[in-house]
């Protein structure tokens, strides 16, 4: 537990967060590992957690009939995986699969959602940070959509 608290305190995502709030997070946190090829979550299932990836690589995919799995994005060590736990109806929109041995800290999203309802300060801190993540992802996705290397680009 003390180890988890240190790791979370030092993570850039939680910079500036109250020690009290971090401890709440630690209370909902645990270590987890995924083998190569293992699914972390599947499209349609309940989104009740999010992950701090410590080591390895995860591919965010969707299965398209006749085409198989299309990779949208990859997530690496140091990145946060999963924001659907914050957005109703709290279901995963994509699959997430480990492409190599991946270790992460998983946070119980359902538990955290309840805690945020009770403690709005905690809720605001979490929302502020996930806002940034979602905005960044949107920007990157738009850039990806532009297909800048396409035929008519340099």
């Amino acid at each position: 537990m003390e180890n988890l608290e240190r790791i979370l305190t030092e993570h850039p995502f939680l910079t500036g967060m109250d020690k009290k709030h971090i401890q709440t997070l630690v209370g909902c946190a645990s270590n987890v590992a995924f083998k190569e090829g293992e699914f972390i979550f599947k499209e349609g299932s309940d989104a009740d957690s999010f992950y701090f990836i410590r080591h390895g690589r995860v591919q965010i995919e969707t299965h398209v009939p006749q085409k198989g799995a299309i990779v949208i994005r990859s997530r690496e060590a140091g990145e946060i995986l999963g924001w659907s736990w914050l957005v109703p109806p709290y279901k995963w929109h994509f699959d997430a699969r480990a492409v190599e041995l991946t270790r992460a800290i998983v946070l119980d999203g359902k538990c955290l959602r309840d805690k945020c309802e009770d403690d709005h300060d905690l809720g605001y801190e979490i929302m502020k940070r996930f806002n940034l993540i979602i905005a960044e992802r949107l920007e990157q996705t738009r850039f990806q959509l532009m297909d800048v290397y396409g035929k008519n680009a340099k």
């Binding site: 994005r73 990859s74 140091g78 990157q140 850039f143 297909d147 800048v148 290397y149 035929k151 340099k154």
Partner: protein, 291 residues
């Protein structure tokens, strides 16, 4: 306007004292197909020796007999006199004609022209090289140069993003670079295909995690203009100084020597004041449309 000093002039530019529009004939020694529409030509001069010296980032005007001339960055090793290497995409009349040339055919060369990457100014700093798509071609000479003087630089990081894994240039070399201990290479694709197990996402996603010290780094960026725009934003966000960030611009060129007026970007001539620019000297061009 920032202007890099050109290194030793080549024999080709001696001709320019007589008439800068004359071309020197070079023979194609080798054609390498890099991707489905991109190819590299390895050239050697026809009339006897004549050392060709260029600085990383400079370009030549390449002439296809009877078809036309286009500006293409030099992609080879600046420490080697030959071969002269150019990597290009077949997108227009001239480059499409170039794609049909074979070993033994002739290409006319004028150059080298333009400003160069700040390889000397970067000594003592970390160097971050960010390439998008075919943008790796004008940056490859930087890698050659830095790796030949490895102890003069701090960490060297190469971030390379393409559309798909099949669009990556210089694959054999990328593999070699990845296996080096004195160079960090990160690759990413916008779209994963086949068995790609690497990063998937735009090249800017590599910047946050790349191991370099933004306060002591020089960044060199090359790729489509939008990609350079977003990449520079991300670099600045991470703390890299805009006076230590360099990009390479591209414009229509007919003469390559500042006389035809086509390549003007505001007050600067991309063929003379560029193509390599220090970001703070050219950033206005990124916010002003149709300049």
């Amino acid at each position: 306007m920032f202007m890099a000093k050109m290194q030793n002039k080549s024999k080709t530019s001696d001709i320019s004292l007589i008439d800068p529009m004359l071309v020197q004939a070079y023979t194609i020694q080798r054609v390498v197909r890099e991707t489905f529409d991109t190819f590299s030509l390895e050239l050697e001069p026809q009339s006897g020796g004549g050392e060709f010296k260029f600085a990383p980032g400079q370009f030549n005007m390449l002439y296809v007999y009877g078809v036309g001339e286009v500006p293409i960055s030099i992609s080879g090793d600046p420490s080697k006199e030959k071969p002269l290497i150019h990597t290009t995409r077949a997108v227009g009349t001239v480059t499409k004609a170039m794609k049909n040339l074979k070993v033994g055919d002739t290409i006319g060369i004028r150059g080298p022209y333009g400003s160069s990457w700040p390889v000397k100014e970067a000594e003592g700093y970390d160097v971050v090289i960010v390439a998008g798509g075919i943008g790796l071609a004008p940056l490859r000479p930087v890698l050659y140069y830095l790796l030949q003087r490895r102890n003069k630089y701090g960490r060297i990081v190469l971030l390379y993003g393409t559309r798909t894994p099949e669009d990556m240039l210089y694959r054999k070399q990328l593999e070699k670079w990845r296996s080096r201990f004195d160079l960090e290479t990160y690759l990413t694709v916008d779209r994963a295909t086949g068995s790609w197990r690497g990063n998937v996402g735009v090249v800017t996603t590599l910047i946050g995690r790349a191991p370099f010290d933004p306060l002591h780094s020089v960044a060199v960026v090359c790729g489509p203009e939008i990609m350079m725009r977003y990449t520079v934003l991300e670099l600045l966000k991470r703390g890299v100084d805009e006076e230590k960030t360099y990009i390479s611009m591209e414009r229509n060129m007919k003469c390559g020597i500042g006389l035809c007026g086509h390549c003007q970007l505001g007050s600067s001539f991309v063929c003379k004041d560029g193509p390599v620019y220090r970001y703070d000297n050219i950033k206005h061009a990124f916010t002003m449309w149709e300049m």
